[in-house]
């Protein structure tokens, strides 16, 4: 690679590390952390949606029960 300044050896390591970090930030694909995070997030979202559905159904059933009792009690 041209244009790399001739840094003293103790700075060269740091330079290469910084370069790697910048390249990682510009990466077009997900790194390991991002990948597992996305996967976990999706799984948790699905699990939460299931739980919400369960509680919602319970609430609906209770509401219907009360409505039925009110209708029956009114007669």
């Amino acid at each position: 690679m041209e244009g790399i300044p001739n840094l003293p050896p103790h700075l060269q390591g740091e330079f290469m590390r910084n370069l790697e970090n910048i390249q990682m930030k510009d990466s077009l694909s997900l790194d390991k952390y991002e990948s597992s995070c996305v996967e976990h997030c999706a799984e948790r979202y699905i699990k939460m949606t299931q739980r919400v559905g369960l509680r919602f159904a319970e609430s609906q059933a209770l509401q219907q029960k009360r409505a039925a009792e009110a209708a029956a009690g009114g007669k």
Binding site: V38, E39, H40, C41, R44, M48, T49, V52, S59
Partner: protein, 79 residues
């Protein structure tokens, strides 16, 4: 029916934002997150019901006003 799908989706999305930690270290929900979900659903539905009642009341008031206006116009135009 569409109302229910919409309600469900919005509720799930809201409760997820409020209750699930954004770190997503694990693929499962933690105990605290699950009880948060239960509370979230209960409160969301109750709030929804209250909003519905307020809206219904507002509609009734508006309907009465519209009717009163129509009656007045009829009375005036009836000569």
């Amino acid at each position: 029916m569409e109302m229910y799908t919409d309600l469900f989706n919005k509720m799930a999305s809201t409760c997820f934002s409020k209750c699930a930690s954004q770190k997503h270290k694990e693929p499962d929900l933690a105990l605290g997150e699950m009880s948060c979900t239960d509370r979230c659903v209960a409160k969301y539905l109750e709030a929804q019901e209250k909003v519905g009642i307020v809206l219904q009341r507002a509609n009734e008031v508006q309907a009465k006003q519209a009717q009163a206006l129509a009656d007045m116009q009829n009375a005036m135009g009836g000569r």
